[in-house]
């Protein structure tokens, strides 16, 4: 399986986090399906020209989060969990919501206000979509 994961030198986050994120995105959009074989640690290290230890770290954390399963001596697969893709989307959604809540708090907004603004944003999105359809 070709990996085409891209490591950015200008991204200040550690490389293992960038790798984890891209694996998760691939699973979320369904490019890598549950049960699919993924490149071995050494294969991916060579393909990305990144040290083995960095890939190992990324795979260990992905395993801990239940995204992949590593069978000793057999390599790794995407966890055979049909709900995995939706779970990853849901986790990402929760992360964004937490950021919204935090920023709202910084601005001194009440939780009712935050909820109202979220609803407004979703309304705006729907309106924009409607106008596009009409045009």
């Amino acid at each position: 399986m070709h990996s085409n994961i891209i490591i950015s030198q200008s991204d200040s986050r550690p490389m293992y986090l960038q790798i984890m994120e891209q694996v998760k995105q691939r699973v979320a959009v369904g490019e890598w399906a549950p049960g699919d074989e993924i490149p071995s640690i050494r294969q991916l290290a060579m393909a990305l020209r990144v040290s083995v230890i960095t890939i190992k770290r990324a795979y260990l954390e992905l395993e801990r989060e239940g995204v992949i399963v590593t069978q000793h001596g057999k390599g790794s697969i995407i966890a055979p969990d049909p709900e995995l893709s939706s779970r990853l989307y849901d986790e990402e959604f929760s992360e964004h919501l937490e950021k919204v809540a935090k920023l709202g708090e910084l601005l001194g907004l009440s939780s009712e206000e935050i909820a109202r603004r979220t609803k407004e944003a979703s309304n705006r999105l729907n309106e924009a979509r409607l106008t596009k359809e009409i045009v």
Partner: protein, 298 residues
């Protein structure tokens, strides 16, 4: 079988104006170690001792199980060494060099040598004296890699290479490790290269090893904390602080023993943690060297 390819134990070497003191170094088989130091820090001396080219005054050195320098002839059959001051014959071609090496090294891999020549964009029929600096480095690397050595020792392999050649060279170094039996030690002052491909990182300064660790651990324990202090609150005393910068109410602390629990510890002391920055290997190296030199002069 010994799973350490290189082992230095209490190694010292003294020159009139420079000394290498009490070097301990362990390089597990199958990994890449990046050896980082400023110019004149002792990288090349350490590498020469490893190769048996310079004899240590004290301490023991084992390379691929062979005691050095006593057993260097046997060890060298399995070590590929490339350094900047290594000369190829200018009047001869790369093909001539390959033919010269082939009968000496039993594991010489001609198909691999041909493949490398292609990937490195080298013409075997061209004379060495007509090559650019980058091409010479790649030619020397080709000759070392095609021997299929168990240990590759590279002194500044990427210095003076253009960006395209650097990527090619780093790629081939990674590829050489595919079978888990081979080991690479490379010195560099290009911390970006080291950060990218190394499993182990060792810092050397003024003839001493100042830090050596697994790369992920290394990057994980160094953080810069940006704090905000209320008036009349002192900078919290946290473990492993190597540098305090910033201004009075907005101090920036650099620690080499970061733990997430530090944030609540700061909050308990009345300080707000505004940001926790990760650091690049270059920043870590510079902070490490500075703090150590300051301690020595203090």
């Amino acid at each position: 079988m010994n799973d350490l390819s290189v082992q230095f134990d209490g190694v010292s070497k003294r020159y009139p104006h420079f000394s290498l003191e009490n070097i301990h170094l362990e390089l597990p088989t199958g990994s890449i170690m990046g050896f980082i130091g400023a110019n004149g820090a002792g990288k090349s001396t350490t590498i020469r001792i490893l190769m048996g080219l310079v004899h240590q005054d004290e301490g023991s050195v084992r390379v691929l199980g062979h005691p050095m320098p006593a057993d260097q002839a046997a060890a060298k059959l399995d070590i590929g060494f490339v350094s900047e001051d290594m000369r190829l014959y200018g009047a001869a071609t790369l093909a001539w060099h390959m033919n010269f090496m082939r009968p000496i090294y039993p594991r010489w891999d001609q198909p691999y040598a041909d493949k490398l020549a292609q990937r490195f964009d080298l013409k075997p029929q061209q004379k060495i004296k007509g090559l650019s600096h980058g091409q010479r480095v790649k030619a020397a690397l080709l000759l070392a890699l095609a021997r299929r050595p168990r240990l590759l020792v590279l002194d500044e392999p990427t210095t003076g290479l253009d960006p395209v050649a650097r990527v090619e060279v780093l790629g081939e170094l990674m590829a050489a490790l595919a079978d888990e039996e081979r080991t690479i030690l490379f010195s560099s002052h290009n911390t970006l290269d080291v950060e990218q491909i190394s499993d182990q990182i060792t810092f050397i300064d003024r003839g001493r090893i100042i830090d050596s660790d697994d790369k992920e651990v290394f990057l994980d324990r160094w953080r810069r904390l940006r704090l905000m202090l209320p008036p009349d609150v002192l900078v919290p005393r946290l473990p492993g602080i190597v540098e305090v910068g910033g201004s009075g109410r907005l101090p920036v602390l650099t620690t080499n023993r970061f733990e997430p629990a530090m944030v609540s510890a700061c909050n308990d002391l009345g300080a707000t943690v505004q940001a926790i920055d990760t650091m690049t290997l270059e920043e870590i190296f510079v902070a490490n060297v500075h703090s150590r030199r300051e301690r020595l002069t203090a």
